[in-house]
Assembly symmetry: C2
Homo-oligomer: 241 residues x 2
DNA sequence: TATGGTTGTCTATATTAATAGACATTAGAG
DNA sequence: CTCTAATGTCTATTAATATAGACAACCATA
C-alpha cells in the first residue's frame, strides 16, 4: 500500500493523501475525517503514524481534532486563479478572499540575464528593474513573485506598487493602462528553503511555478514574472474563448 | 539550510534541489554535477547523504556517475505541453519525441457521477463511457488519463482509440472531425500509489493534474478528462492569441 | 609512473521514524 | 450515571536515516 524506504516518511505520505481526499470532497457528507483507527487500518499502519499525519494537517489548519468527538475538516477550498488573455492577480482572486495584500519584499536595479533578456526581448545586460513581492489572501501567503520590467519605461514602478499593492494599478501609474498576458508556462517543483520560509510550507510541499510574459496592447513586452504558488492553496484554470 | 524532522529525508530534499538545478540549466556549462564533496559542503550534510541523493537521480536516469571522473547530466529536458483553444496531445508533444504511444488500460460503461455530470452537462446517472489511457513518449510515461464521453454519441470510442492510439482520430471516427478545449484546471499533488506504479515515480514525487473539458464546434461537451502528468518530465505552456 | 582528485564500498554510531501496548481524558448516547 | 467511542499521552522496542572515518578503485595528467 504505502511505500517505505523511499525517503518520504509514512506519516507525510498519509498526510498528503488525506489532504487530497479532503480537497476532492470525499468527506463532505459529514465534514468529518474518519477516526484514527479506521485510517490506520485503511492505510495499513499504526495509529500513531496516522496521528502524526493528522497533527501535520492540523498544523496547516486543514483539520481540527476534538478529544472524545473526532477530527473535523477546518478548510477545504483552494483559491482558483484564472489564466487568460487578461490575467489580473487582484481581480482574478478578488472575489474569493476578503483581505488581499501585496507586500513588496525588495526592489533593485539589475541588468538583464540571458533568460530575462530573451523573454523581454532586450539585449543581455540591458537595465531592468526587479521587484520581489509576496501576496497574501485572508492572511495566507498565496504567491511569491519575482518580476522584471525594462528600466526605460518603468522607472517608478517600485513606488507605485508599494502604494497601490497592485501590478495593474502600478503599471497604470507608469502610463500602461492596459496589458495582455502573452504566454504562461506552468511547472511544479518541491518547495525550496525560501518557499518554506516565505510561504510557510513544509519541505516536500509542492510549489506551482509560472513564468509569464505580459505585453502592452502594441505587443511590446513590459513584464516578465516568475511566480511561485503553494499547490495546496492554489489551482489554475485556463479558459478559452 | 535543509530542514530536518519534517518527514522528508535529507537525501530526498537534496535530490529534489539538484533535479531543479539541472532543469534550470545551472550546470549546462560543463554538463557536469559538482563533486560529492562540494555538494555535501554546500548543503551542509555528509557526503553519504549526497550520495543517496545522486543514487536516486541516477535511478531516474537524470545523472550518471563515472568512478574516478565525476557525475554527469544524462538528461535535462522536459516535454512542453501547450494548452490552448485547440489542445491536441499528439500534435502538441509530437515534435519533441520520436516514439509516441497511447495504451488503453481499461474501458467501461458507467453512469455519470456528480462531477462528471456537471462537466459534461448531463444528468447524474446518465450513461457515459470511461476510458483509462497511459501515454508514453520515447519510452517514458508522460501522462495517465481518465476520460468520460457521453455514451449516446461515442459508443465505439473505445475501439477507435485502441486502433488509432489518438483521441483526435478516435473522435473523428465517431463523427467529430473538430473539437475545442473550453477549460483546463491545473493543480498539483503528491504521487498516489497508482501514479507511483503506472508512471514509475517515487512517493513524494509531484503529479500535475489537469481537469479538461472538450466541446464540439457547436459548444456541446464531448469529453471530460482528468489527466495526471509527472511534474519532473512535463510542463505546460498557455499561449493567448 | 607517480600524484591528486573523484566515485565506490565497508564498518560503526547516533538520531529519527514507526510500531506496539497501556491507560488517561473527553464527549455523547442510552 | 454508565457505557462506548473517540482523541491525548506516556513508555518501550525495532527499523530506517544520517553522520563519521577509512580505504579501495578508477581516471586524467604532469
Amino acid at each position: 500500500m504505502m511505500q517505505r524506504q523511499k525517503g518520504v516518511a509514512l506519516w507525510r505520505q498519509i498526510a498528503d493523501r488525506i489532504r487530497a481526499s479532503i480537497a476532492a470532497g470525499d468527506y463532505d457528507a459529514t465534514g468529518r475525517v474518519p477516526t484514527e483507527m479506521v485510517l490506520a487500518e485503511s492505510f495499513g499502519v499504526n495509529r500513531h503514524t496516522v496521528r502524526a499525519a493528522l497533527a501535520a494537517l492540523a498544523q496547516e489548519g486543514i483539520v481540527r481534532a476534538e478529544q472524545g468527538k473526532g477530527t473535523w475538516i477546518e478548510r477545504r477550498d483552494k483559491f482558483d486563479f484564472p489564466i487568460g488573455l487578461r490575467t489580473r492577480f487582484t481581480q482574478g482572486i478578488g472575489d474569493q478572499a476578503r483581505d488581499l495584500k501585496g507586500v513588496l519584499l525588495s526592489a533593485e536595479a539589475e541588468t538583464a540575464t540571458a533568460e530575462t533578456a530573451r523573454w523581454l526581448k532586450l539585449d543581455i545586460g540591458a537595465p531592468v528593474r526587479r521587484l520581489d513581492a509576496l501576496r497574501k489572501a485572508d492572511g495566507r501567503a498565496v504567491s511569491r513573485s519575482t518580476m522584471w520590467f525594462p528600466s526605460a519605461r518603468f522607472e517608478g514602478i517600485e513606488e507605485a506598487f508599494r502604494q497601490t499593492e497592485s501590478i495593474t494599478r502600478a503599471l497604470s501609474a507608469c502610463g500602461v493602462p492596459d496589458y495582455l498576458r502573452e504566454v504562461t508556462e506552468v511547472s511544479a517543483v518541491h518547495a525550496e528553503p525560501d518557499d518554506v520560509a516565505q510561504l510557510a510550507l513544509s519541505p516536500g510541499a509542492i510549489v506551482l511555478v509560472t513564468k509569464a510574459l505580459n505585453i502592452d496592447p502594441e505587443g511590446v513586452p513590459i513584464q516578465f514574472a516568475i511566480t511561485r504558488f503553494p499547490a495546496d492553496r492554489v489551482q489554475f484554470s485556463i479558459r478559452n474563448g
